[in-house]
């Protein structure tokens, strides 16, 4: 697993991966068909591979615990790492399209598990295209939180259809979220923030959280501070736009 002897990509003292060996472009084309394995259905997701300490056997029928948090486009894993200790009883997973970045997060989690026995066992990452394969990973109403932090803005109008938040993709996110589950989005691009807000506002399966609820939620503060992207924006003195909505039963 961890190869710290003579492997320059891992920092020998912390056991954590060095980011400069895992650099990748910020942008990845979600339309191209990459070749990575996709589970046939949510019951085929291998929990023993992701959470080996919690699920020692490869074959678990009727697992008592399922993944509840999903970080879509998790990047270098900053949010997941923070959430892991904030919610130690909850299983969570990051989904990332870029190969190198996924490898970085894997190594990071492994390094943290070794350095902190018993902790970080509830967090994992998978390389996949979440715009196509979310129903393969999660059952109906499985998730209680979904995160979309600093998604690719796809500025040109002809590329708007590649945005990870769209009226049609919200159908799928509503499907995997339980009633009462929360979708968190944040961006530093104002137009994208307006777009995401408008998509969520117009979708009959979502309603906004009240100001009180936002203030009471410990996760909301993490949106702008926990990730590398968020920290970069803060360093540059940029503004961020948060849109947080709850999954509801549509009025019929």
């Amino acid at each position: 697993m961890l190869q710290n002897k003579g492997n320059p990509t891992i920092n020998k003292s912390t056991g954590l991966p060095r980011k400069r060996f895992y650099r990748a472009r910020a942008h990845s084309n979600p339309l191209s068909d990459s070749h990575f394995p996709v589970p046939l259905s949510p019951s085929h997701v291998d929990y023993s591979q992701h959470y080996p300490q919690l699920f020692p056997a490869a074959d678990q029928t009727g697992t008592y615990k399922k993944i509840q948090f999903a970080d879509i486009g998790c990047g270098f894993g900053g949010l997941l790492i923070s959430l892991s200790t904030l919610f130690p009883e909850t299983l969570m997973i990051g989904m990332e399209l870029r190969d190198k970045v996924t490898e970085y997060v894997k190594e990071r989690i492994l390094g943290l598990r070794v350095a902190n026995p018993g902790r970080y066992q509830n967090v994992s990452v998978v390389r996949t295209n979440s715009m196509k394969y979310i129903p393969n990973y999660f059952e109906k109403g499985q998730l209680s939180k979904m995160f979309f932090l600093f998604p690719d803005p796809h500025f040109k109008e002809k590329n708007h259809r590649r945005r990870v938040i769209s009226p049609q993709l919200l159908d799928e996110y509503a499907y995997v979220l339980q009633v009462g589950g929360i979708i968190y989005t944040i961006t530093d691009v104002e137009e994208l923030g307006e777009w995401m807000k408008s998509c969520l506002q117009n979708h009959l399966m979502f309603e906004p959280l009240s100001q009180k609820e936002l203030e009471a939620d410990p996760v909301v503060k993490l949106l702008s501070t926990a990730t590398e992207e968020g920290q970069k924006v803060a360093r540059n003195g940029g503004q961020t736009f948060q849109v947080v909505y709850r999954r509801i039963t549509p009025a019929s």
């Binding site: 068909d33 990575f36 046939l40 715009m131 509503a174 549509p250």
Partner: protein, 450 residues
């Protein structure tokens, strides 16, 4: 399970494909960027079998079985019929409407009384699947980018033809080609299948123009593209039992309320090796035969059809028999049946192929004699009807086939084209880098100005 869409069985199809598509790409594309692709022949039967329709390339042929006459289509809605390959045709279950759509990006809705085109809808992309809601108020069509659109049908008085009814998005399978679209028998759900192995069941809302946002379930289990969908009607489930066929050579049965897989039938292993050429046993079409729990399955390279029985109490599928078509090289490209007629209509053929004086082929055959669920009925064997025994007889064949009899040579020339047509439809094309660059430059998917 890998994300790749190709496997050894379809590699063969792709190699054959080389002659028609990939070689000499530059000259063909330069001379006519819109060369019609080889398209498989399609058949659809009116719910009460009052008419039968066949689509071959851009040609739509309808035969009226009530008065035994060929139908002349009237299209005054602005488009001069279809001008590129028709990819999907369907009758509405209430029998009043018929829809046709395809590569010309037009969706045409026809009244089945007078066979006049009452509405033409323009699609942004080529259309790959269509469905009419059970109440006949909406038409849904899927484009090659994975979006399913819905359009209101004009108040039905059959007089005014309308052009450019505006369609709105209903739902989408992100970046997947939708291969089949079906409404559940009770009309509560719309089911869409795609080339990325997925089947989505969505609640069809009271106001479809606002979009269908409530997903009921996903039916996941196919390990290859899903090519076709059909419903079995059963008294205990008003929403029916869903049956699907796919590139993994299986036919699967689903409970659409929960999305669970009820049973899988590996039809690939049941097909005798000498009945098919090579090892291609992709399921290309399925058709349920009402009033008995039989499912007819068309398998690529099988000269005939396979019949499956569905046991409703145990919810299982099993192979009943293979009905071969002797004496002709007949591999069905499309199947159809009416709700009452008890006949299975089949067509084989393709448009625009080389190697013969005749550039297209369409051959219609019918199978009858399906056992009804009445145990007292005498043992009936499904039999392939002779041309003279087909309803409509020679007149129907002349209209739907273009001629009464087809030369064996034409069949041979068509065989490759038929195979290519089905492959093109279902297999993701792999382009060389230069070809891909060329396609990017000459791509034309701009929104039409309306």
């Amino acid at each position: 399970m890998e994300g790749t869409k190709m496997d050894a069985r379809v590699d063969e199809c792709e190699r054959d494909d080389g002659n028609t598509q990939e070689d000499a790409p530059m000259e063909e594309s330069e001379q006519n960027n819109k060369d019609m692709e080889v398209a498989p022949a399609l058949v659809s039967v009116h719910p009460t079998q009052s008419s039968v329709a066949v689509a071959l390339g851009s040609d739509l042929r309808v035969f009226n079985l009530l008065d035994n006459s060929a139908v002349s289509l009237m299209d005054e809605s602005g488009g001069a019929y279809h001008n590129d390959s028709i990819r999907c045709i369907k009758y509405g279950t209430n029998g009043k409407l018929f829809v046709s759509a395809g590569d010309d990006k037009l969706v045409k809705v026809w009244s089945t009384d007078c066979w006049r085109c009452i509405s033409t809808v323009v699609s942004e992309k080529r259309v790959s699947a269509v469905a009419i809601s059970n109440d006949g108020l909406h038409v849904c069509f899927a484009d090659k980018f994975g979006v399913v659109w819905v359009v209101d049908l004009p108040g039905f008085d059959g007089t005014k033809a309308s052009l450019n009814q505006k369609a709105v998005p209903l739902l989408a399978h992100y970046c997947s080609i939708i291969t089949s679209l079906e409404f559940s028998p009770d009309g509560r759900f719309i089911v869409s299948a795609d080339r990325d192995f997925k089947i989505r069941v969505t609640v069809f809302p009271k106001k479809p123009l606002d979009g269908a946002h409530e997903i009921q379930s996903f039916c996941l289990g196919h390990t290859e593209f899903v090519s076709c969908l059909a419903f079995i009607c059963t008294p205990d489930s008003p929403q029916g039992i869903l049956v699907s066929g796919g590139g993994d050579s299986t036919v699967r049965m689903w409970d659409i309320i929960s999305g669970s897989l009820l049973d899988t039938c590996e039809v690939g292993t049941k097909v005798e090796p000498n009945a098919t050429e090579g090892n291609c046993s992709t399921v290309t079409n399925i058709c349920t035969i009402p009033e008995c729990t039989l499912i007819a399955v068309a398998i690529q390279s099988l000269r005939g059809i396979m019949l499956l029985t569905c046991d409703l109490s145990s919810r299982t599928l099993s192979v009943s028999k293979v009905v071969s078509i002797d004496g002709e090289n007949f591999v069905p490209t499309s199947l159809g049946s009416s709700i009452s007629g008890g006949l299975l209509w089949m067509v084989t053929g393709a448009s625009k192929f080389r190697g013969s004086d005749v550039s297209s082929l369409s051959r219609v055959k019918v199978i009858s004699g399906f056992k009804k669920s009445n145990p007292n009925a005498s043992e009936q064997e499904p039999t392939v009807l002779a041309d003279s025994e087909i309803p409509g007889g020679a007149k129907l064949l002349e209209k739907l086939q273009g001629s009464i009899s087809i030369d064996e040579k034409v069949f041979l020339a068509a065989a490759d084209a038929v195979k290519t047509a089905m492959c093109n439809l279902l297999i993701k094309k792999q382009y060389s880098d230069e070809k891909r660059e060329f396609r990017k430059r000459t791509r034309n998917d701009k929104k039409s100005k309306q």
